[in-house]
Protein backbone atom coordinates (compact mmCIF):
# COMPACT_ATOMS: atom_id res chain seq x y z
CA UNK A 1 0.00 0.00 0.00
CA UNK A 2 1.37 3.37 -0.95
CA UNK A 3 1.68 5.47 2.19
CA UNK A 4 2.92 8.60 0.49
CA UNK A 5 1.80 11.82 2.16
CA UNK A 6 1.85 13.92 -0.98
CA UNK A 7 -1.10 16.20 -1.54
CA UNK A 8 -2.09 14.50 -4.75
CA UNK A 9 -2.11 11.13 -3.05
CA UNK A 10 -4.33 12.55 -0.35
CA UNK A 11 -7.07 13.63 -2.71
CA UNK A 12 -6.89 11.18 -5.56
CA UNK A 13 -5.74 7.73 -4.80
CA UNK A 14 -5.35 5.12 -7.48
CA UNK A 15 -7.80 2.24 -7.31
CA UNK A 16 -6.57 -0.86 -5.67
CA UNK A 17 -5.52 -3.26 -8.34
CA UNK A 18 -7.53 -6.46 -8.47
CA UNK A 19 -6.04 -9.46 -6.78
CA UNK A 20 -4.54 -11.95 -9.10
CA UNK A 21 -6.80 -14.90 -9.66
CA UNK A 22 -4.18 -17.53 -10.16
CA UNK A 23 -6.75 -20.31 -10.16
CA UNK A 24 -8.21 -19.07 -13.42
CA UNK A 25 -4.74 -18.95 -14.95
CA UNK A 26 -4.16 -22.67 -14.63
CA UNK A 27 -3.07 -23.84 -18.04
CA UNK A 28 -4.33 -26.92 -19.67
CA UNK A 29 -0.84 -27.78 -20.95
CA UNK A 30 1.69 -30.07 -19.36
CA UNK A 31 3.01 -29.91 -15.78
CA UNK A 32 6.26 -28.22 -16.86
CA UNK A 33 4.41 -25.26 -18.37
CA UNK A 34 2.17 -25.10 -15.34
CA UNK A 35 5.12 -25.03 -12.94
CA UNK A 36 6.84 -22.35 -15.00
CA UNK A 37 3.72 -20.17 -14.94
CA UNK A 38 3.28 -20.81 -11.24
CA UNK A 39 6.84 -19.64 -10.55
CA UNK A 40 6.22 -16.52 -12.61
CA UNK A 41 3.00 -15.75 -10.75
CA UNK A 42 4.23 -16.45 -7.23
CA UNK A 43 6.25 -13.25 -6.67
CA UNK A 44 3.30 -11.09 -7.74
CA UNK A 45 0.69 -12.71 -5.55
CA UNK A 46 1.78 -11.45 -2.10
CA UNK A 47 2.10 -7.87 -3.35
CA UNK A 48 -1.45 -7.87 -4.66
CA UNK A 49 -2.72 -9.44 -1.48
CA UNK A 50 -1.10 -6.68 0.58
CA UNK A 51 -2.90 -3.99 -1.36
CA UNK A 52 -6.37 -5.20 -0.49
CA UNK A 53 -7.87 -3.50 2.53
CA UNK A 54 -10.97 -4.77 4.24
CA UNK A 55 -13.59 -3.03 6.30
CA UNK A 56 -14.86 -5.25 9.08
CA UNK A 57 -18.16 -4.75 10.86
CA UNK A 58 -19.10 -6.90 13.82
CA UNK A 59 -22.34 -6.72 15.76
CA UNK A 60 -22.92 -8.83 18.87
CA UNK A 61 -26.12 -8.94 20.85
CA UNK A 62 -26.77 -10.52 24.24
CA UNK A 63 -29.06 -13.19 22.75
CA UNK A 64 -26.03 -14.75 21.03
CA UNK A 65 -26.80 -13.10 17.71
CA UNK A 66 -23.56 -12.24 15.97
CA UNK A 67 -23.08 -10.71 12.56
CA UNK A 68 -19.68 -10.28 10.95
CA UNK A 69 -19.39 -8.41 7.69
CA UNK A 70 -16.02 -8.35 5.93
CA UNK A 71 -16.00 -6.12 2.89
CA UNK A 72 -13.09 -5.46 0.55
CA UNK A 73 -12.67 -1.75 -0.12
CA UNK A 74 -13.52 -2.22 -3.79
CA UNK A 75 -16.92 -3.56 -2.87
CA UNK A 76 -17.55 -0.75 -0.38
CA UNK A 77 -16.68 1.76 -3.09
CA UNK A 78 -19.15 0.15 -5.46
CA UNK A 79 -21.81 0.31 -2.75
CA UNK A 80 -21.10 3.98 -2.15
CA UNK A 81 -21.24 4.69 -5.87
CA UNK A 82 -24.68 3.12 -5.95
CA UNK A 83 -25.76 4.99 -2.83
CA UNK A 84 -24.63 8.29 -4.34
CA UNK A 85 -26.92 7.64 -7.28
CA UNK A 86 -29.88 7.28 -4.94
CA UNK A 87 -29.10 10.14 -2.58
CA UNK A 88 -31.83 12.72 -2.30
CA UNK A 89 -29.89 15.35 -0.37
CA UNK A 90 -30.15 18.80 -1.86
CA UNK A 91 -26.89 19.66 -3.65
CA UNK A 92 -24.54 21.60 -1.41
CA UNK A 93 -26.15 20.40 1.77
CA UNK A 94 -25.79 17.42 3.95
CA UNK A 95 -27.86 15.92 6.72
CA UNK A 96 -31.42 16.13 7.84
CA UNK A 97 -33.63 18.75 9.40
CA UNK A 98 -34.15 22.23 8.06
CA UNK A 99 -32.23 21.75 4.84
CA UNK A 100 -29.28 20.17 6.62
CA UNK A 101 -25.86 21.73 6.90
CA UNK A 102 -24.31 23.74 4.10
CA UNK A 103 -21.24 21.91 2.88
CA UNK A 104 -19.44 25.19 2.29
CA UNK A 105 -19.87 26.02 5.98
CA UNK A 106 -18.78 22.54 6.97
CA UNK A 107 -15.63 22.94 4.90
CA UNK A 108 -14.90 26.34 6.46
CA UNK A 109 -15.39 24.90 9.94
CA UNK A 110 -13.13 21.96 9.20
CA UNK A 111 -10.47 24.25 7.77
CA UNK A 112 -10.59 26.39 10.92
CA UNK A 113 -10.25 23.29 13.11
CA UNK A 114 -7.47 22.02 10.88
CA UNK A 115 -5.47 25.17 11.54
CA UNK A 116 -5.81 24.81 15.31
CA UNK A 117 -3.89 21.53 15.50
CA UNK A 118 -4.21 18.90 18.23
CA UNK A 119 -6.76 19.97 20.80
CA UNK A 120 -10.12 19.22 22.41
CA UNK A 121 -12.73 20.75 20.12
CA UNK A 122 -15.69 20.08 22.34
CA UNK A 123 -16.25 18.68 25.80
CA UNK A 124 -19.71 18.37 27.30
CA UNK A 125 -20.57 17.03 30.74
CA UNK A 126 -24.25 16.71 31.52
CA UNK A 127 -25.06 14.57 34.52
CA UNK A 128 -23.65 11.15 33.82
CA UNK A 129 -23.16 11.92 30.12
CA UNK A 130 -19.72 12.87 28.95
CA UNK A 131 -18.89 13.74 25.36
CA UNK A 132 -15.58 14.83 23.95
CA UNK A 133 -14.46 15.59 20.40
CA UNK A 134 -10.76 16.04 19.95
CA UNK A 135 -7.82 15.59 17.65
CA UNK A 136 -4.69 13.77 18.70
CA UNK A 137 -1.76 12.72 16.54
CA UNK A 138 -3.59 13.33 13.29
CA UNK A 139 -6.74 11.48 14.37
CA UNK A 140 -10.17 12.88 15.08
CA UNK A 141 -11.69 11.20 18.12
CA UNK A 142 -15.27 11.27 19.35
CA UNK A 143 -15.99 9.70 22.72
CA UNK A 144 -19.37 9.48 24.39
CA UNK A 145 -20.03 7.88 27.76
CA UNK A 146 -23.47 7.59 29.29
CA UNK A 147 -23.82 6.38 32.84
CA UNK A 148 -21.21 3.69 32.47
CA UNK A 149 -23.64 1.67 30.32
CA UNK A 150 -23.07 3.18 26.92
CA UNK A 151 -19.69 3.87 25.49
CA UNK A 152 -19.09 5.15 21.97
CA UNK A 153 -15.64 5.67 20.52
CA UNK A 154 -15.19 6.90 16.96
CA UNK A 155 -11.79 7.62 15.55
CA UNK A 156 -10.52 8.38 12.09
CA UNK A 157 -7.44 9.95 10.59
CA UNK A 158 -7.89 13.66 9.83
CA UNK A 159 -6.97 12.95 6.24
CA UNK A 160 -10.20 10.96 5.89
CA UNK A 161 -12.20 14.06 6.79
CA UNK A 162 -10.03 16.01 4.34
CA UNK A 163 -10.95 13.55 1.63
CA UNK A 164 -14.61 13.54 2.59
CA UNK A 165 -14.85 17.31 2.27
CA UNK A 166 -12.42 17.68 -0.58
CA UNK A 167 -14.42 16.36 -3.47
CA UNK A 168 -17.10 17.83 -5.65
CA UNK A 169 -18.45 21.21 -4.60
CA UNK A 170 -21.95 19.93 -3.98
CA UNK A 171 -21.36 16.51 -2.50
CA UNK A 172 -19.43 14.78 0.22
CA UNK A 173 -16.82 12.62 -1.46
CA UNK A 174 -17.61 9.37 0.31
CA UNK A 175 -15.58 7.24 -2.03
CA UNK A 176 -12.46 9.36 -1.60
CA UNK A 177 -12.98 9.12 2.16
CA UNK A 178 -13.21 5.35 2.08
CA UNK A 179 -10.11 5.10 -0.12
CA UNK A 180 -8.23 7.31 2.31
CA UNK A 181 -9.49 5.23 5.22
CA UNK A 182 -8.05 2.17 3.54
CA UNK A 183 -4.78 3.91 2.67
CA UNK A 184 -4.14 4.85 6.28
CA UNK A 185 -3.84 1.21 7.27
CA UNK A 186 -5.08 -0.98 10.08
CA UNK A 187 -7.05 0.80 12.80
CA UNK A 188 -10.32 0.90 14.71
CA UNK A 189 -13.00 3.23 13.40
CA UNK A 190 -16.01 2.74 15.63
CA UNK A 191 -16.63 0.93 18.88
CA UNK A 192 -20.07 1.06 20.49
CA UNK A 193 -20.93 -0.72 23.72
CA UNK A 194 -24.49 -0.43 24.91
CA UNK A 195 -25.09 -2.87 27.71
CA UNK A 196 -24.35 -6.29 26.25
CA UNK A 197 -24.65 -5.08 22.69
CA UNK A 198 -21.46 -4.21 20.88
CA UNK A 199 -20.82 -2.79 17.43
CA UNK A 200 -17.34 -2.55 16.08
CA UNK A 201 -15.97 -1.29 12.75
CA UNK A 202 -12.33 -1.49 11.85
CA UNK A 203 -9.99 -1.54 8.88
CA UNK A 204 -7.43 -4.25 8.31
CA UNK A 205 -5.30 -5.31 5.43
CA UNK A 206 -6.30 -8.91 5.60
CA UNK A 207 -9.53 -10.80 5.74
CA UNK A 208 -10.51 -11.87 9.24
CA UNK A 209 -7.93 -9.69 10.99
CA UNK A 210 -8.86 -8.67 14.51
CA UNK A 211 -7.78 -5.07 14.07
CA UNK A 212 -5.53 -2.93 16.19
CA UNK A 213 -7.27 -2.18 19.44
Amino acid sequence: MNRSNSASARWRLPRTSPAADSSSQTPAAGPAVFLLLLLLLLPAAPADAQETQWIHIRVEEPNATRVSLNLPIGLVEAGLQIAEGHMTDAPGRWGVGEGGVKLAELRQLWQALHDVGDTDFLEVEDGDTHMRISRRDGRVLVQVEEGGETNVRFGTPSSVIDALLGGDEDRLDLRAAIRELARTGEHDVLDIRDGDTTVRIWVADRQGAAGGR
Binding site: P18, A19, D21, S23, S24, A28, A49, T52, W54, N63, A64, T65, R66, V67, S68, L69, N70, L71, P72, G74, L75, E77, A78, G79, Q81, I82, G85, Q207, G208
Partner: protein, 176 residues
Amino acid sequence: MRRLLAGSVLALLGILVLVGFLGGFSVLVLRASWEEGRTLVVPVPAVLAGAGLALAPRLELSDVAPYHRDLGRVLAALEDTPDGLYLEAHGEGREHVTVEKRDRALLVRVTESPGVSVEFTLPLATLAAFLRAYDLEAGAVAPRRLLPALRGVPRGPLLHLTEGDVEIRVGVWRPW
Protein backbone atom coordinates in the same frame (compact mmCIF):
# COMPACT_ATOMS: atom_id res chain seq x y z
CA MET B 1 -38.55 -24.09 8.01
CA ARG B 2 -41.11 -23.21 5.33
CA ARG B 3 -39.01 -20.26 4.24
CA LEU B 4 -35.95 -22.44 4.00
CA LEU B 5 -37.81 -25.01 1.93
CA ALA B 6 -39.41 -22.40 -0.28
CA GLY B 7 -36.06 -20.70 -0.80
CA SER B 8 -34.43 -23.99 -1.58
CA VAL B 9 -37.08 -24.95 -4.11
CA LEU B 10 -36.76 -21.56 -5.78
CA ALA B 11 -32.98 -21.84 -5.85
CA LEU B 12 -33.26 -25.33 -7.29
CA LEU B 13 -35.66 -24.19 -9.99
CA GLY B 14 -33.47 -21.21 -10.80
CA ILE B 15 -30.41 -23.37 -11.10
CA LEU B 16 -32.26 -25.91 -13.22
CA VAL B 17 -33.36 -23.18 -15.61
CA LEU B 18 -29.92 -21.60 -15.80
CA VAL B 19 -28.00 -24.80 -16.24
CA GLY B 20 -30.59 -26.00 -18.72
CA PHE B 21 -29.22 -23.48 -21.15
CA LEU B 22 -25.78 -24.92 -21.10
CA GLY B 23 -24.41 -26.29 -24.30
CA GLY B 24 -21.66 -28.67 -25.17
CA PHE B 25 -21.13 -31.82 -23.20
CA SER B 26 -22.20 -30.52 -19.86
CA VAL B 27 -24.50 -32.66 -17.83
CA LEU B 28 -26.70 -31.46 -15.07
CA VAL B 29 -26.73 -34.13 -12.39
CA LEU B 30 -29.49 -34.22 -9.86
CA ARG B 31 -28.97 -36.65 -7.01
CA ALA B 32 -31.63 -37.17 -4.38
CA SER B 33 -31.48 -39.54 -1.46
CA TRP B 34 -33.94 -40.14 1.31
CA GLU B 35 -34.72 -42.54 4.11
CA GLU B 36 -33.18 -46.01 4.19
CA GLY B 37 -30.51 -44.98 1.74
CA ARG B 38 -32.73 -44.81 -1.31
CA THR B 39 -31.06 -42.77 -4.00
CA LEU B 40 -32.14 -41.33 -7.31
CA VAL B 41 -29.67 -39.93 -9.81
CA VAL B 42 -30.96 -38.02 -12.83
CA PRO B 43 -28.35 -36.89 -15.36
CA VAL B 44 -29.72 -34.37 -17.84
CA PRO B 45 -27.47 -33.53 -20.80
CA ALA B 46 -27.39 -29.78 -20.93
CA VAL B 47 -27.70 -29.73 -24.69
CA LEU B 48 -31.02 -31.55 -24.34
CA ALA B 49 -32.26 -29.27 -21.61
CA GLY B 50 -31.04 -26.26 -23.56
CA ALA B 51 -32.89 -27.32 -26.70
CA GLY B 52 -36.10 -27.62 -24.77
CA LEU B 53 -35.70 -24.39 -22.91
CA ALA B 54 -34.77 -22.48 -26.06
CA LEU B 55 -38.41 -22.83 -26.97
CA ALA B 56 -39.53 -21.43 -23.65
CA PRO B 57 -41.32 -18.09 -23.58
CA ARG B 58 -39.35 -15.07 -22.51
CA LEU B 59 -39.10 -14.41 -18.81
CA GLU B 60 -40.85 -11.24 -17.73
CA LEU B 61 -38.66 -9.71 -15.04
CA SER B 62 -39.60 -6.05 -14.96
CA ASP B 63 -38.59 -5.76 -11.30
CA VAL B 64 -34.95 -6.20 -12.29
CA ALA B 65 -34.85 -3.12 -14.55
CA PRO B 66 -34.49 -0.44 -11.83
CA TYR B 67 -31.56 -2.32 -10.29
CA HIS B 68 -29.90 -3.51 -13.48
CA ARG B 69 -27.16 -0.88 -13.48
CA ASP B 70 -26.50 -1.24 -9.74
CA LEU B 71 -26.30 -5.01 -10.02
CA GLY B 72 -23.80 -4.61 -12.84
CA ARG B 73 -21.63 -2.38 -10.68
CA VAL B 74 -21.71 -4.80 -7.77
CA LEU B 75 -20.83 -7.72 -10.02
CA ALA B 76 -17.97 -5.80 -11.62
CA ALA B 77 -16.65 -4.96 -8.16
CA LEU B 78 -17.01 -8.55 -7.03
CA GLU B 79 -14.94 -9.73 -9.99
CA ASP B 80 -12.06 -7.61 -8.72
CA THR B 81 -12.31 -8.34 -5.00
CA PRO B 82 -10.35 -11.14 -3.36
CA ASP B 83 -11.75 -14.44 -2.17
CA GLY B 84 -12.84 -14.58 1.44
CA LEU B 85 -15.68 -14.83 3.92
CA TYR B 86 -17.83 -11.75 3.33
CA LEU B 87 -20.67 -12.40 5.75
CA GLU B 88 -21.18 -14.63 8.74
CA ALA B 89 -24.26 -14.43 10.93
CA HIS B 90 -25.22 -16.52 13.92
CA GLY B 91 -28.85 -16.40 15.03
CA GLU B 92 -30.33 -16.95 18.45
CA GLY B 93 -30.62 -20.67 17.99
CA ARG B 94 -28.25 -22.57 15.78
CA GLU B 95 -29.01 -20.57 12.68
CA HIS B 96 -25.87 -19.85 10.77
CA VAL B 97 -25.49 -18.02 7.47
CA THR B 98 -22.30 -17.47 5.53
CA VAL B 99 -21.59 -15.79 2.21
CA GLU B 100 -18.18 -16.48 0.79
CA LYS B 101 -16.47 -15.59 -2.45
CA ARG B 102 -14.38 -18.37 -3.88
CA ASP B 103 -13.15 -19.07 -7.40
CA ARG B 104 -15.26 -16.34 -9.03
CA ALA B 105 -18.44 -17.54 -7.39
CA LEU B 106 -20.50 -16.68 -4.34
CA LEU B 107 -21.11 -19.58 -1.99
CA VAL B 108 -24.12 -19.18 0.27
CA ARG B 109 -24.62 -21.56 3.19
CA VAL B 110 -27.68 -21.47 5.41
CA THR B 111 -27.98 -23.80 8.38
CA GLU B 112 -31.22 -23.58 10.23
CA SER B 113 -30.52 -26.35 12.68
CA PRO B 114 -28.35 -29.48 12.75
CA GLY B 115 -29.44 -31.55 9.78
CA VAL B 116 -31.33 -28.76 8.04
CA SER B 117 -29.19 -26.76 5.67
CA VAL B 118 -28.90 -25.47 2.15
CA GLU B 119 -25.80 -24.48 0.21
CA PHE B 120 -25.79 -22.96 -3.24
CA THR B 121 -23.26 -21.52 -5.61
CA LEU B 122 -23.78 -18.42 -7.74
CA PRO B 123 -21.05 -18.15 -10.39
CA LEU B 124 -20.32 -14.48 -11.07
CA ALA B 125 -19.91 -15.13 -14.79
CA THR B 126 -23.39 -16.59 -14.92
CA LEU B 127 -24.92 -13.65 -13.10
CA ALA B 128 -23.10 -11.24 -15.41
CA ALA B 129 -24.28 -13.18 -18.44
CA PHE B 130 -27.83 -12.95 -17.18
CA LEU B 131 -27.52 -9.16 -16.86
CA ARG B 132 -26.08 -8.93 -20.37
CA ALA B 133 -28.94 -10.96 -21.76
CA TYR B 134 -31.50 -8.83 -19.97
CA ASP B 135 -33.48 -6.54 -22.27
CA LEU B 136 -33.85 -3.30 -20.35
CA GLU B 137 -36.55 -1.86 -22.57
CA ALA B 138 -38.71 -4.95 -22.51
CA GLY B 139 -37.96 -5.77 -18.88
CA ALA B 140 -37.52 -9.40 -19.86
CA VAL B 141 -35.00 -12.06 -20.82
CA ALA B 142 -35.30 -14.14 -23.95
CA PRO B 143 -34.11 -17.61 -22.91
CA ARG B 144 -32.23 -18.23 -26.15
CA ARG B 145 -30.09 -15.16 -25.50
CA LEU B 146 -28.78 -16.91 -22.41
CA LEU B 147 -27.68 -19.99 -24.32
CA PRO B 148 -24.21 -18.89 -25.47
CA ALA B 149 -23.54 -16.83 -22.37
CA LEU B 150 -24.30 -19.53 -19.85
CA ARG B 151 -22.00 -22.14 -21.29
CA GLY B 152 -19.44 -20.84 -18.85
CA VAL B 153 -21.17 -22.18 -15.77
CA PRO B 154 -18.32 -23.98 -14.05
CA ARG B 155 -18.50 -27.64 -13.27
CA GLY B 156 -19.02 -28.55 -9.66
CA PRO B 157 -21.77 -28.43 -7.08
CA LEU B 158 -24.51 -25.83 -7.44
CA LEU B 159 -26.96 -26.83 -4.77
CA HIS B 160 -26.90 -29.04 -1.71
CA LEU B 161 -30.01 -29.31 0.38
CA THR B 162 -30.24 -31.40 3.53
CA GLU B 163 -33.23 -31.94 5.72
CA GLY B 164 -33.16 -34.93 7.99
CA ASP B 165 -32.84 -38.05 5.83
CA VAL B 166 -33.52 -36.13 2.65
CA GLU B 167 -30.57 -34.88 0.69
CA ILE B 168 -30.61 -33.24 -2.71
CA ARG B 169 -27.54 -32.35 -4.70
CA VAL B 170 -27.42 -30.56 -8.03
CA GLY B 171 -24.21 -30.06 -9.90
CA VAL B 172 -22.67 -29.70 -13.33
CA TRP B 173 -20.47 -32.41 -14.69
CA ARG B 174 -18.20 -31.76 -17.64
CA PRO B 175 -15.44 -33.98 -18.98
CA TRP B 176 -12.85 -31.17 -18.89
